[in-house]
Every structure is written in structure tokens, then in C-alpha cells.
């Protein structure tokens, strides 16, 4: 009952022209950002972060979450219409969405992707609302040992979810953790690796690092691959009829399954919408009576990909809000946003600022309704806006990055940090090292170090093993590290045989 009353209060707080305009703006920017190939949801959220500086903490978060949710839908529009997924998670949508367009059924594909996105979004938000408050209450009982173990589990999951690139992910995580040690030691105040440079006393500011690694590295990659000189693809007209209510109802179980699966996968740190959509698509294909249709224009394929992708947003927000551990790259950017507004993500957010949390939940519901309305208004409009030539888009991203990096501490040094991390991110991605673990390592570094040392002071290393929850979490972390190792060993043995 408490949850419902908090939610209705949150909804009440949004029923004014300014909050609704903020959500509308967030959704518009999110759809547009998601639809533009080369702009990922995390990049859209990072680039738009400076717009929230002048807003109240709740409105700032509401806008960023609306961008995050809408960007995940926006990616499907270009995936369906021109076979160019706007976001990595929309790649799966293009498997069946674009074949439908080529069969002259662009309306069917767009309609299904929109409704599945909205349904998935609602499922994710429902699970988020249902589980986050009890989880936060439970987390209040955690000792530093549990927090440390939890953060380690988070990082090990990220690395092990890197698939064939688990070693690169581990290296990236450790690089992030190491870079996070620059600055004043969080417990004793000892200066580390600052070389008496005043600007390094607070360490690297998260936002310039985030923008550099997520936005500028992508831009440098695009420039290197010659994207700026290629002509844009002409979209299909998209004027074919949209599906009927009966068509949508036929897909209700696919959407439900994928929505729940996407939320659960989204909860795991580092998993995000891309992995969720691949797994949900695979599950749907296995359960289908006509698996051969998948890849050739199966409506269930589009529905599963989109529902899981959108629902992963709600899932990713669960660990972020309750434990302070980001579930995805975009959620990592949101942590930066929370910190800028002097809010510490974690269980205490629910006790100290419940109004912000529930306003955020309610805003996600409203944002989902706005996505539905704007999606119905016409995807063609979004595509036209999204096809800005890269030779004009990329300079604008640099300009946005300048502002975003500078505004945090009014420091030109931070803009330089952003550029440097952009180049580092470009080099790392060229060599197939993922960059999001670097960011997550930097974000979780302080939490890990503080809790590790607090535990050592309280009872030494044995405390990690004597507390059952901490031990279980560490064992899980160990298992998630061991799984890819064992899998690789088996594969290598099989190859030899």
C-alpha cells in the first residue's frame, strides 16, 4: 500500500506543465538520439547531462531516465526502416524488422516494435517498483563486507558477460579501478599519484571520463571508418498498414516472456539491453512453432527483441537505485548524474529521498505513455531527423562534450581529460577491449576500496568469509570468473580432439 501511495504522490508531482515538458523533451531527445546510428543510449544520456545542471535533482533524473528509456525504443526505428540499428541493442530488431520492411510490411514492423517496446517498458517498471523498495530495505542491513562482495560480484559479472572477451573485460575493469585510486585516499586523506597537481586531488571527474569513453571514442571510431563521407541511406516510405489489435494480441505471450527476461537480465551489472535482446530472441525462436521464419520477417522476433530491450531499462535501475551498482552503461552515467546533484545511490536513497525515487518511477510510466503517443505520430518523421549527415553531427557531439565536461567543475582541464579518454577509448575499442568496464571500475572503485578497508579494520580478511551473505556473494563472483575459464578450457580441449 505504501508503494501505491508513494507512486500516486510521485504521479501527482508530475502533473504540471514543467514536469510534463521535461519528460516530453527527454523522450523526444531520447528517440532522436536512439534513432541516430552512432549515438548509443549511454552517449545520449551523457551528452544531455549538462542540461540538467540547472534543474532540481528529481527533474534532472526524470529527464535523463526518459532519454534512456526512449533511446532504447528509438534505436528500433532505423533498424526496421533502413537496416541500420540506431543502438547496439536494436541489432536484433533488424533481424526480422528489416525483412518485414522489404516485404512491404514496414508498418507491421514499426507497430510491433512500438507496442512491444512500450509493453516491455511497463513490465520493467512494474518489476522495478515491486522489488526495489524491499531490496533496498534488505540492503540497509548490509555490512561493509557485503557491500564489498556485492561490488566485486558486479564487476566480475560485467567481465564474465564480456563473452569471448572476458580477459579484456577484466583488464578494463582493473584499469578503471586503478585510475580511480588517483586523488585523495577516501579514508585517510593521503594524496595518491597527484604529483602535487591540484586538479588531480579529487581524482578524475566521472562525467568527462564518461563522455570521453562513451561519446568521443565512438566519434573517433566513426571518423576512422569513414562514416562521414558515406551518403545516408534513403528510408522506405513506411506508409504500409499498421497491425490490428488482434495481431498484437497474438504476440502477447512473446512480449510478456521477453519483458520479464529482459528485466531479469537487465538487473545483472553489465548485461544491458543488447544481451537481453539476443537471449530473448533466441528463447522465442526455440519456443516458436515456426523457428524457420526467424530472420526472414517473424513478428515474434521483433516483439521479443524490443520488449526485452526496453524492459532491461527497469532492470538496470534496480541495482542502481537499491545498491548503488549500475546495471548498464547508461545506468553508470545516471550514477554520475546522481552524484552531481549530491545524491548517493543506494538503499539510503529510499529512506532519505523517497520522493525523488517515486517521482522517478512515476516519470518512467509517463515517459512510456509519451513514447507510445510519439511513436504512433509517425516514425518517418524521426527517421528524417535522425539522418543528419555525420560530417555535421560529429562536430556537434564535440561541442556538446565540451560543455558537458566543462560544466561539472567549470574546468578546462576536465575538457582535456574528456578528449584524452576519448582517444584512449578509441584505441581500446580498436583493439577490441570494451570500455564500459573501465567506467564501471572507476565508479565502483571508491565503494570497493572504502568497504574493503572498513572490513579489514573491523575484523580482517576473515570477516569476508565468516559472514554468510558476503561469503555467498564472493563465491558467486568466483564462479562467474571461473565459468568463462572452464568454458574456454573445454573449447580448447574439444579443438585439440
Amino acid at each position: 500500500m505504501d508503494t501505491i501511495s508513494h507512486l500516486s504522490e510521485g504521479l501527482g508531482a508530475l502533473m504540471g506543465p514543467i514536469p510534463l515538458l521535461v519528460i516530453l523533451a527527454g523522450v523526444c531527445v531520447g528517440i532522436l538520439g536512439g534513432a541516430m546510428p552512432g549515438i548509443s543510449p549511454s552517449m545520449a544520456v551523457a551528452l544531455l547531462l549538462p542540461f540538467t545542471f540547472g534543474m532540481s535533482p528529481s527533474m534532472g533524473l526524470v529527464m535523463l531516465c526518459a532519454i534512456y528509456l526512449a533511446a532504447n525504443y528509438g534505436g528500433s526505428i532505423t533498424a526496421v526502416m533502413i537496416n541500420t540499428p540506431g543502438t547496439p541493442s536494436a541489432v536484433v530488431t533488424s533481424f526480422d524488422g528489416y525483412p518485414l520492411t522489404r516485404q512491404g510490411k514496414a508498418g507491421t514492423a514499426l507497430g510491433i516494435s512500438l507496442i512491444a517496446s512500450v509493453m516491455g517498458g511497463f513490465i520493467g517498471i512494474f518489476i522495478l517498483v515491486l522489488f526495489s523498495a524491499p531490496l533496498a530495505r534488505f540492503a540497509l542491513k548490509f555490512w561493509p563486507a557485503e557491500y564489498f562482495a556485492l561490488a566485486i560480484l558486479g564487476l566480475s559479472t560485467i567481465a564474465s558477460l564480456g563473452g569471448g572477451r572476458w580477459l579484456e573485460s577484466f583488464i578494463a575493469v582493473l584499469l578503471g579501478l586503478l585510475l580511480n585510486t588517483i586523488g585523495l585516499d577516501p579514508l585517510s586523506g593521503v594524496s595518491r599519484y597527484t604529483f602535487d597537481v591540484m586538479r588531480l586531488y579529487d581524482g578524475f571527474s566521472f562525467i568527462p571520463v564518461l563522455i570521453g569513453l562513451f561519446a568521443l571514442s565512438e566519434v573517433f571510431n566513426g571518423i576512422e571508418s569513414g562514416e562521414t563521407v558515406r551518403p545516408p541511406v534513403e528510408p522506405d516510405s513506411g506508409s504500409s498498414p499498421w497491425p490490428s489489435v488482434r495481431d498484437y494480441l497474438k504476440l502477447k505471450y512473446s512480449m510478456l516472456r521477453a519483458g520479464v527476461l529482459g528485466t531479469v537480465i537487465g538487473i545483472f551489472p553489465g548485461a544491458g539491453g543488447t544481451i537481453a535482446s539476443f537471449i530473448a530472441y533466441d528463447v522465442e525462436k526455440r519456443l516458436s512453432k515456426n523457428p524457420d521464419e526467424f530472420g526472414k520477417g517473424a513478428p515474434a522476433g521483433v516483439a521479443a527483441a524490443e520488449a526485452s530491450n526496453s524492459s532491461s531499462v527497469g532492470g538496470a535501475l534496480v541495482p542502481l537505485l537499491t545498491l548503488g551498482i549500475p546495471g548498464s552503461s547508461s545506468a553508470a552515467v545516471l550514477i554520475g548524474a546522481l552524484m552531481i546533484h549530491n545524491l548517493q545511490p543506494g538503499p539510503e536513497l529510499f529512506t532519505k529521498h523517497p520522493e525523488i525515487v517515486y517521482t522517478l518511477f512515476s516519470s518512467l510510466l509517463v515517459a512510456n505513455v509519451i513514447i507510445l503517443a510519439l511513436g504512433l505520430l509517425g516514425a518517418r518523421l524521426w527517421i528524417k531527423a535522425a539522418l543528419i549527415p555525420k560530417r555535421l553531427l560529429y562536430p556537434l557531439i564535440f561541442a556538446f562534450s565540451f560543455i558537458g565536461s566543462y560544466a561539472v567543475r567549470s574546468s578546462v582541464f576536465d575538457v582535456g581529460v574528456c578528449l584524452a579518454f576519448g582517444l584512449i577509448g578509441w584505441l581500446l575499442t580498436r583493439a577490441k577491449f570494451p570500455v564500459s568496464p573501465v567506467v564501471l571500475g572507476m565508479i565502483l572503485g571508491t565503494m570497493i576500496e572504502k568497504n574493503l578497508r572498513a572490513t579489514l579494520m573491523m575484523g580482517g580478511y576473515s570477516l569476508f568469509l565468516s559472514r554468510p551473505l558476503s561469503l555467498s556473494l564472493l563465491l558467486l563472483a568466483l564462479a562467474s570468473v571461473a565459468v568463462p575459464l572452464v568454458r574456454e578450457r573445454r573449447a580448447s580441449l574439444r579443438r585439440r580432439q
Binding site: P50, F51, F53, G54, L167, E168, I171, L174, L175, L177, L178, T181, D185, L187, S188, V190, R192, Y193, F195, V197, F220, I223, E224, S225, G226, T228, V229, P389, K390, R391, L392, Y394, P395, L396, F398, A399, F402, I403, Y406, A407, S410, V412, V415, G416, L419, G422, L423, W426, L427, L428, R430, A431, K432, F433, G445, E449, R453, L456, M457, G460
Partner: protein, 171 residues
Amino acid sequence: MYVWIAGLPGVLLLAGAAVGNGRYAPFRLRILICTGLLYLSFVFFFLSFGLEEIEAVGSSARTAPRLWSAGLALFTLDQLRRIFTGRSPRDPEKGDIPRVFLTAGVVALALWGMDIAGYYISTGVMLLLLSLLLGERRPVVSLSLAGGWILFSWAVFSRLLNLNLPEGIFF
């Protein structure tokens, strides 16, 4: 600090020269990145001995840097082992790398010029140069992009959000 910073390109040059055009040339970027990471972990580990020791029951400011740098070195060495045993992916095909460095150069120039010319002029010039560099052949479009951004950033960031953007000699 400068010695440690200067050490990185030195180590990378040595590693690059060692790779040469031989057997491991297709893995050059990976090898260079791993070498850079090894150097970084060595520097962090080595410098941790100079950190002030305020011992607090088995933990100090040295604990975390040593743990992370040791872990980084360990995993990076494993990565190198994989490269040398041929179990690592090759570097991707080279694209338009000079354009990337030119772009970064223009951005760095704009950054340097911000203290002299101020945010508006340096960003405007940066946008103009970048759009030309990235292939825009219509001067009107490039000028509109730069002018439009200056107007937009003045109206939104300076007036609406009250952000104090860097000022130069003029404004």
C-alpha cells in the same frame, strides 16, 4: 611526474620497434596497449611505496593501488601470452587514422585557445574546421553550423542554465 609520463612513449617505442614487421606485426596495437598497461601497473605499484603510511589495522592508502596494479599486470601478462601463442584476435584493418588525429588536433587546439579567445570563438572555429575536415563542402552549411551552435549555447547554457563558460580576451 614528467619522468614517468615521458617513460610511457619510450616504452611504447621500444615495444613497437621490437614488434617490427615480423610475425607479431598483425598484433601491434594489442601488444602496444598491453605494454602500456604493464607500464602503468608497474608505475602505480612502484609509486605506492612512496605513499604516506597511515596504518589502520592492516589497511592503508597503499592497499588498493597495489591490489589493482598487481591484478592488472597479471591479466595483461596473460593477454600477452595469448597474443604470442596466436590465441588473440588480430588488429583491425587500418582506417582513416590521420583524419582521427587531425580531428583530435583541432579539438585540442580549440581547447588551448579557449583561455585566449574564449568559449564562443574557439568552439565556433572548431566546428567550422571540423565540418570542413569531415567532408562538408558547402561553406554556408559549415558557417551556419558554427553560428547556430554559438547562438544555441549562448541562449541555452549561458542565459537559461546560467553556466559560466570560459572567457577569453574579448568575451
